[in-house]
């Protein structure tokens, strides 16, 4: 029970990783404890947001990663078209896969 696993490129030792994280955390805590103790509640707690008032409220799941979906719009249109939810389409895909696998075996000279 050493924790080590070997891969074709080397090895991975999680215990060393955990030890490094603990040491790094201790160093961070020590650095933090050397900071100024003159912090004041109030104005200093308001996040700086490009000079504007930071938006309040909670960003809902549907509004997240807007840019990601905009840039991949065409891909997502294609993907949604594929996921029709119609049972006939599920079976069509099975038939298509069977045909493709048969063709792959034929092209590989196996049929």
């Amino acid at each position: 029970m050493t924790g080590m696993i070997f891969t074709p490129a080397g090895y991975w030792n999680p215990i060393v990783w955990v030890a490094v994280v603990i040491i790094a955390s201790v160093i961070v805590f020590m650095l933090r404890s050397t900071g100024r103790k003159t912090f004041k509640n109030g104005a200093q707690q308001i996040p700086f947001y490009s000079g504007n008032e930071a938006p309040r409220g909670h960003i809902k799941a549907s509004n997240m990663y807007w840019g990601f979906f905009e840039s991949l719009e065409k891909y997502y249109i294609w993907l949604r078209k594929m996921h029709t939810g119609i049972i006939n389409d599920y079976v069509y895909f099975l038939v298509i896969v069977i045909v493709i696998l048969m063709a792959a075996l034929a092209l590989g000279g196996l049929l």
């Binding site: 909670h58 809902k60 549907s62 993907l79 594929m82 896969v97 196996l110």
Partner: protein
């Protein structure tokens, strides 16, 4: 007396691991008539007994090699009296025992979680009976050495799963169950048809027997394609994954967690057919490439479909598809280089170990994530992420368990998902660097998707729906805690799992001659 009983259990373990949950399932409605408490105790005791016998079977397999059990024979080891295996033979090697122990462990966890999650809903006698039937179906599927029995156990599993998906009897759940039933039936028919094609030529249904005599005729190869496609459908590989989001999304949360393991039983069958029955086919590497392509498509399409979802369970269902891709990629690389001993030793076996290790890791972290989703639904009554906020205020333990599951599925150290993914990345890189890059990008997208869930459900101010109540009941968070601890433990000590279960399972899968020799 106890020693004699334990000896009997050990000798008949392959039959008992199927018989105990099956008999217990039929007895459950009777115990339910006495009282709920008696029924719950009965179900837990049955699953504990199944777990105990499965552990004995696993122990026997790891100590003495594969265990063969002939049903109806005067001596269970009498597999082929006249050199011809005509009876139903249960054949458990390290791969089968590995899958069986995953199935029964998750059954136990799901069962304990369900007691409070399902609460006072009606029809729970049938719910727990079907849970036991699913367990019997899964264990039967992974321990049978017979193609026809494989079809029977798959049908047993599918019918029980469909009934569980339809448990809520609402429009969506009934529709999801109907789709699952249609897809499963068509897949099962393909398997039956393929079994018939092989039986027509060789008068055999036994996998080891068939593997020993198969001549790779045109009909055999057509049977291979039918079996391969049907099991790819059952494990939810893209583009045959459409049923997964419907079924996992609409089933009760603990059932979704158990369906993950049911899909993995389909994955086992895919591996068994490819390596054991058709492992000697000269061009089997072509099917290895097919497995890799299924894996890459599943990884990428699964995760990109998950990100825009706002239904927490559908999101997790698509991630299940994506994670299945990793297993297919890892094991597919092994199959693609199976005839090249140098590449198999250099990276093929390691890729397979990564893929098989990911099977058990996925059962743990995806099981945990579905259970945390269930905890959220239990408290808020909604699956819609847009209606959730600030759950970390009221459900601190569920939040911690969700973080553990999310970091594990995203492949962050030191969780168990990282260990198996690292093995897949580094092995696949030597096969094709582009595939490894795709696998890593998918992990980043997985993390992004779970950051979205974490932010929208757990962060932010409390909303009225999440403000009421607090943490889920003890029995629910206790089993989530067990899974979280296992995830961390096997993340820090992956060698325990790898050396004791995964490597023997991969060796068994690669040892086609050994599997055949067990029967003939």
């Amino acid at each position: 007396m106890i020693d004699a009983w334990l000896e009997f259990c050990s000798q008949n373990a392959p039959a008992l691991v199927i018989a105990i949950p099956l008999i217990a399932a039929f007895a459950t409605p009777l115990f339910s008539r006495i009282s709920e408490k008696v029924r719950n105790i009965w179900v837990v005791l049955s699953l504990l007994a199944t777990f105990r016998v499965t552990a004995t079977l696993l122990h026997n397999v790891l100590d003495n090699g594969q265990v063969v059990y002939t049903l109806g024979a005067s001596v269970p080891s009498l597999t082929a009296p006249d050199g011809f295996p005509f009876r139903i033979i249960l054949q458990a090697d390290a791969m089968s025992a590995f899958m069986a122990i995953i199935s029964v462990s998750m059954a136990l966890i799901v069962c304990i979680y369900s007691f409070r999650f399902m609460g006072k809903k009606s029809g729970l006698d049938k719910y727990f009976a079907l849970l036991l039937v699913m367990t019997a179906g899964m264990i039967g599927l992974v321990t049978t050495g017979d193609l026809f029995s494989m079809f029977v156990f798959l049908e047993l599993l599918s019918v029980a799963s469909a009934a569980m998906i339809a448990y809520y009897s609402k429009g969506e759940s009934a529709e999801a169950a109907f789709k699952y039933m249609v897809v499963s039936s068509i897949g099962a028919l393909m398997i039956l048809f393929a079994a018939g094609m092989l039986y027509g030529q060789y008068n055999l249904l036994n996998i080891a027997g068939l593997a020993g005599v198969i001549e790779f005729t045109l009909i055999d190869k057509m049977a291979l394609v039918l079996l391969f496609s049907a099991f790819a459908l059952k494990c939810g590989a893209v583009p045959l994954h459409m049923w997964v989001s419907d079924a996992y999304g609409e089933a009760p949360a603990p059932v979704s967690a158990f369906l993950v393991v049911a899909s993995q039983a389909g994955l086992y069958a895919l591996f068994r057919i490819s390596f054991t029955l058709f492992g000697g086919l000269p061009g089997i590497a072509t099917m290895g490439w097919a497995m890799i392509i299924f894996g890459l498509l599943s990884m990428f399409v699964g995760v990109t479909m998950a990100i825009p979802q706002k239904d927490i369970k559908r999101l997790m269902a698509y991630h299940a598809v994506s994670q299945t891709g990793y297993m297919l990629l890892g094991v597919g690389v092994g199959l693609a280089v199976i005839n090249d001993m140098g590449s198999l030793a250099l990276f093929g076996k390691s890729a397979m170990e990564g893929g098989i290790f990911h099977v058990i890791n996925h059962a743990m972290y995806k099981g945990l994530l579905f259970l945390t989703a269930g905890a959220i639904i239990y408290r808020t009554g909604t699956k819609n992420l847009n209606e959730m906020s600030g759950l970390a205020h009221t459900m601190p333990l569920t939040t911690i368990f969700f973080i553990v599951g999310a970091l594990s599925i995203a492949g962050l150290p030191p969780f168990n998902g990282f260990a198996s993914k690292l093995m897949i990345y580094e092995s696949v890189f030597l096969f094709n660097p582009l595939f490894a890059v795709i696998a890593m990008v998918v992990s980043i997208l997985t993390l992004a998707s779970f950051v979205k869930v974490f932010h929208s459900a757990f962060m932010g101010p409390k909303v009225s729906k999440s403000a009421k109540g607090g943490e889920v009941p003890l029995s629910m968070w206790f089993v989530m805690g067990i899974l979280a601890v296992l995830i961390i433990f096997f993340g820090i000590f992956p060698d325990v799992m790898l050396d004791n279960l995964v490597t023997p399972a991969v060796d068994a899968l690669l040892n086609q001659a050994g599997y055949i020799g067990g029967v003939i």
